[in-house]
């Protein structure tokens, strides 16, 4: 950047020291601390209500085995929502990635190429979402409802609605690399979740790309006036969602070594709920990945806990829906108060 050249530097002056203040820390990280409080509170509540489940390690291994599938996607989805956009097509991207995985394997007999094809499919569909939203100016909520149905339809047409086994992947190192168990217990996909989370965090908080995401979501007009390429930035975020969704689709399918054409359907609600529970505003410009991370584990635990506590599984959908509605109401209220 040329801004470096004509900058009045102040190397000789005392650098401003970012002082730590406890009260300011609380004020600035209120939402994240709130989520963390809810996380701890719910956990204690679950332990008291169902100690025989929540005091054993199996449940936590189960969480770390299944939560990463949607928690991974919740990371780039958080970026989309911060940018003031929405993507509802990611469940279909999961399935579409797996269709190309299977077709490529059938044709070439190589799981690595199949894996690569799945990721490229995700990138392509994400890019297409971005183009539809940015170049044609269609609201992303509507555009991605459309592409969600389109790609789900494509999955059904291409695969003739059939499911298929993925047992052959077990012969390749790809399988343990994505969904293996360390020491026979710890699920590898949890490590992949951490990798995705850390990389996305660095992108959002340490790279100018992330700074532009916040600025676009906050005030896209200002961002444009100040020379930010708002179109390219938004398209790239859609690409990121596509890539991670396809990756997650492969991981989730290899975990059960089976492909279902309905792959991803169950993830729409819990992924969105993770993002909103994590404190990201549906109006854009506000949100954190740490919040989403805790949000995802709360969402994942709620499902197991409702059953363990003795309620039926029907309650989970109700709770997820309630979380989304309450989050939107809270952010609407906070916005009004700011004005």
């Amino acid at each position: 950047m040329s801004s470096e050249t004509n900058l009045k530097t102040s190397e000789d002056e005392n650098l401003y020291q970012h002082k730590f203040s406890f009260s300011k820390f609380i004020r600035r990280n209120g939402t994240q601390l709130g989520i963390f409080g809810v996380f701890i509170g719910l956990w204690l509540f679950f332990i008291i209500m169902a100690p025989e489940t929540f005091l054993k390690t199996q449940i936590y291994n189960a969480f770390m085995s299944t939560i990463p599938f949607f928690a991974m996607m919740a990371m780039p989805l958080t970026l989309i929502v911060i940018a003031g956009e929405m993507d509802l097509s990611f469940p279909s991207i999961m399935a579409m990635g797996m269709i190309t995985f299977m077709f490529t394997y059938d044709a070439l007999g190589n799981v690595w190429l199949a894996f690569l094809a799945a990721l490229l499919t995700g990138i392509f569909i994400g890019w297409l979402n971005g183009i539809i939203v940015v170049k044609f100016g269609i609201p992303s909520l509507v555009a991605t409802i459309g592409t969600q149905f389109f790609w789900r339809g494509a999955v059904l047409v291409l695969g003739q609605g059939k499911s298929g086994t993925l047992v052959y992947t077990k012969d390749s190192i790809l399988h343990p690399l994505l969904v293996g168990k360390i020491w026979g217990e710890f699920p590898v996909q949890m490590i992949w979740l951490l990798v995705v989370a850390v990389l996305t965090w660095i992108l959002l908080n340490r790279h100018k790309f992330g700074a532009h995401i916040y600025l676009i979501g906050d005030n896209i007009k200002s961002a444009e006036l100040m020379g930010i390429n708002t179109g390219r930035t938004r398209i790239l975020v859609f690409v990121l969602v596509g890539l991670v969704s396809a990756f997650s689709g492969v991981v989730a399918s290899l975990h059960v070594t089976y492909f279902w054409p309905s792959l991803g359907d169950g993830y729409l609600l819990r992924t969105l709920a993770s993002v909103f529970l994590g404190g990201t505003s549906v109006y854009g410009g506000v949100g954190t990945l740490l919040g989403t991370f805790f949000g995802a584990f709360i969402i994942g635990a709620i499902e197991a806990a409702t059953v363990a506590i003795g309620l039926t599984g029907f309650w989970t959908q109700l709770i997820y829906g309630l979380i989304i509605v309450l989050s939107v109401i809270m952010h609407t209220y906070l916005r009004k108060r700011m004005e």
């Binding site: 950047m1 401003y16 916040y214 906050d218 020379g227």
Partner: protein
Amino acid sequence: MDLRLELKNVSKNFGEVQALKNVNFQLGQNEVVGLLGDNGAGKSTMIKIITGYYQPTSGELYFNGELVENLTVPKARELGVETVYQERALAELQTLWRNIFLGRELVNQWGFMDIKRMRSETHRLMTQSMGFTSGAVTPDSKVGSFSGGEKQGVAITRALFFDAEMIILDEPTMGLSLKETEKLLRFVSDIKKAGKSAIFIDHNIYHVYSVSDRVVVIDRGQVAGEFLTKDISLNDLMEKMIHVAESGVLE
């Protein structure tokens, strides 16, 4: 010496609407030009062409005597154009330091931000030019919590920080208190003293007259006339403005 900026026969159409018609405009080195005109006269369109936000439908732009084609916002900034926008172009939910460096964050070659440096520069600017001396405001304060004058201060400081040669102020006094307005007008005089050029747009003819070397009147997308402020009294200028508003012509 070459002109800082020259517009030759610049027109801009938005579909059927012709916002600017064959505008010719010059800005000299170390000159402050006031732009006057009614709402919708085309002042903001003209500014957005100079800053690279809009592309003109036809016509040419010269910076320091050189023809510049396909101007973009980053390119205009490289040419030394800084703008304080009417709507201030701030991101209110973001911190002060993010707003100061909006769109040109200090980054390394991989695009990673030097947050420490941006914070410390912001802190220096806060005390030196924005007038935040109490400890209540830090580089991490959200801009949305500032008053109108403070927000304007942020927008102006941002324009000054990058050492521009030409500063455009689009309706900068809007929503400011008397005291804040006074401070702003003094700031425009400072630009002149520093040897830089400025284009000052305002509804208030008193403000424009008091700080400008030259006044250009825009009406219905055309330049209706221009005067050196030393050649015309404020009263005469006002009469001419009223005449323009009624008839569309100066004489």
